[in-house]
């Protein structure tokens, strides 16, 4: 006789099916892209779609053989790390200020940065950095990326900071600790996971951004998203190589994001609801 599932287990099974289906649907296009990175162009565009095929590593070989691609990866890393680090350095004190004192003026200015249409800044930023002789430098890219990493950092850190019980800080201040000391010795350690989550979201935003690199970067400082667009040729698209390049760009940030996924969730809502 077959054992029938209890209503509870049936319910759990139902949710599992639904949950996995939804997840699969969301992940499917990305899987298709990764699958395509192992196909030749003729297989990638084939109809009916090809699911069983002889995989090729040529696309990846081509992407990596192009020395510039590794160079662009380095550029993307430098810019994203710089924009993230600067965002954290400047943003955490500001987030602390907004979390502990409720001065909305500061928050509004930061929110404005999030609302502005970035494209409109292309020409002014180019002109500005030209005057400062910084076009083509990492500085101009990092500085322009601050437009979105800084508001994001403040936004998320507010929530994490509010989760820290204020009594600890009060006690420290009574003991004669300075405000900077409070930040460094209490807030930062206690929100370490939040900082990691925030940092990674900022890193991803900067990593994927190609808008500012279009005009502010030159051959030496070109970042990955711009390089990926280079696989759109004059009158052909090397689909396999494009997919390989796109997968290559996504993997590092994906791994990072998966590591701290739990804390991203916490920060997104906390910072948002109270912000």
């Amino acid at each position: 006789m077959r054992r029938r599932l209890s209503p509870q287990r049936r319910r759990r099974l139902g949710f599992a099916v639904a949950g996995w289906t939804v997840t699969f649907l969301l992940v499917a296009p990305f899987l298709w892209m990764v699958l395509g990175s192992f196909k030749t162009t003729v297989d990638f565009l084939a109809f009916p779609p090809v699911f069983v095929f002889a995989p090729t590593l040529d696309n990846y070989r081509q992407v990596l053989a192009d020395n510039s691609f590794l160079h662009y990866t380095l550029n993307s890393t430098i810019v994203a790390a710089g924009a993230t680090a600067l965002g954290l350095l400047l943003g955490i004190p500001a987030a602390y200020a907004l979390a502990r004192w409720r001065r909305t003026g500061i928050g509004v200015v930061l929110l404005l940065a999030r609302m502005a249409p970035g494209i409109a800044f292309l020409i002014p930023l180019f002109v500005m950095f030209l005057e400062l002789q910084l076009v083509g430098s990492y500085v101009s890219l990092i500085a322009s990326h601050l437009i979105f990493t800084l508001p994001l950092t403040v936004w998320m850190m507010i929530g994490f900071i509010e989760a820290v019980p204020i009594e600890i800080e009060k006690a420290a201040l009574i003991d004669g600790c300075s405000l900077v000391g409070v930040l460094l010795r209490i807030i930062v350690p206690l929100t370490a996971q939040g900082i990691a989550a925030t940092g990674i979201l900022a890193f991803i935003a900067s990593w994927n951004n190609f808008l500012f690199a279009l005009v502010l970067a030159n051959e030496k400082t070109k970042t990955l998203p711009v390089a990926v667009l280079g696989y759109i040729g004059y009158n052909s698209i090397q689909w396999g190589t494009l997919m390989a390049a796109a997968t290559f760009i996504t993997l590092p940030v994906l791994v990072l994001a998966l590591c701290v996924q739990r804390y991203i969730v916490r920060g997104l809502v906390a910072g948002a609801v109270t912000g």
Binding site: G19, A46, A120, I123, V182, V269
Partner: protein, 302 residues
């Protein structure tokens, strides 16, 4: 030495003199933002009052509010404006319920739940430019895998998606939803986790059905969270350009052109810097206005 607070939040006592500590703490951030954004905004404002072409060495010509006057009569602008609002509305109507739905699903315990939650991030992380191209190929009515899958369930004549004047905007909204609904879901997941369990337990004891619990407990309590998600989405949807540029270029014709795309084309393609700047400023004002409306709406609810 700093006095310790009587005030509930601040560890520093509010003295007679205004306490400038928060401003000092945020000064570096404010200076940075103003440095990187301040000049461009002023420049943008200045450019919007001139007619200026990059090609050549003619100096900019002052036209006062001429660009803005022209905007009002520009059919293409007015249509793009309406279309952008339509994009935003469709986006909200799809993202929010779907996001909440996914969150409710992920709120239940089932095997593999944390892996599922972790994978939700994937659409947000993929490079928009490359993913846009992948979607174009997947949706192609002749070659795409979507056609194949639809054919497998018996639909032989697939919709034309990006080529159908009535479907191009919803299709783009769907691709955008694919990318950003996970973010709404993640926000809602955390929101659900933060809800107090007592009301739900009481409701269960009282014999309320799942639907009733959702309607009278979950939904009202999640309203603040949903408002936050709505705010973030509205800001991005009003400025939508990435996937439109990569997937249709605003086409067919101008049928999927958003305000931000028109701004981009006017300034950088048609070489009308002043006009493009005017469009950008109008867009900025609209985003600010809509965000303020949402903030107002949120206050009474929370």
């Amino acid at each position: 030495m700093v006095d310790v607070a009587a005030a509930p939040r601040a560890p520093v006592t509010p003295r007679r003199r205004r306490d400038w500590t928060p401003e000092l703490l945020s000064l570096p951030a404010l200076v940075a933002i103003l440095a990187v954004m301040g000049f461009p905004l002023l420049y943008l404002g200045w450019m919007s009052l001139h007619r200026w072409s990059l090609v050549g060495f003619d100096p900019p010509r002052f036209v006062g509010l001429g660009n803005f006057a022209q905007l009002v009569q520009d059919e293409r602008f007015v249509e793009a404006l309406g279309r952008t609002f339509w994009f935003t509305a469709l986006g909200l109507v799809s993202n929010l319920p779907l996001g909440l739905g996914i969150a409710l699903l992920m709120h239940e315990r089932f095997p593999g739940r944390s892996l599922c939650r972790a994978l939700l991030i994937l659409p947000m992380v993929a490079t928009p430019a490359a993913m846009g191209l992948v979607w174009v190929i997947m949706l192609d009515p002749t070659l795409g895998i979507v056609r194949y899958l639809l054919g497998a369930i018996g639909i032989d004549h697939p919709p034309l998606w990006l080529s159908d004047p009535d479907l191009v905007v919803p299709t783009l909204v769907a691709v955008d939803a694919w990318m950003w609904t996970p973010m709404v879901a993640l926000i809602c997941i955390a929101g659900l986790a933060a809800l107090p369990p007592e009301p739900f337990e009481a409701a269960l004891v009282d014999g309320a059905s799942a639907l009733q619990r959702f309607r009278y407990l979950t939904l009202p309590m999640m309203l603040p969270t949903l408002m936050v998600a709505a705010m973030l989405r509205v800001m991005d949807l009003l400025k939508l350009i990435d996937i439109v540029y990569v997937m249709t270029g605003g086409g067919p014709g101008h049928l999927s052109e958003t305000i931000n795309l028109y701004n981009y084309l006017a300034a950088l393609s048609y070489d009308k810097i002043g006009y493009g700047s005017a469009i950008a400023l109008v867009l900025f004002a609209i985003v600010i206005a809509c965000t303020l409306v949402l903030i107002r709406l949120r206050r009474p609810a929370s």
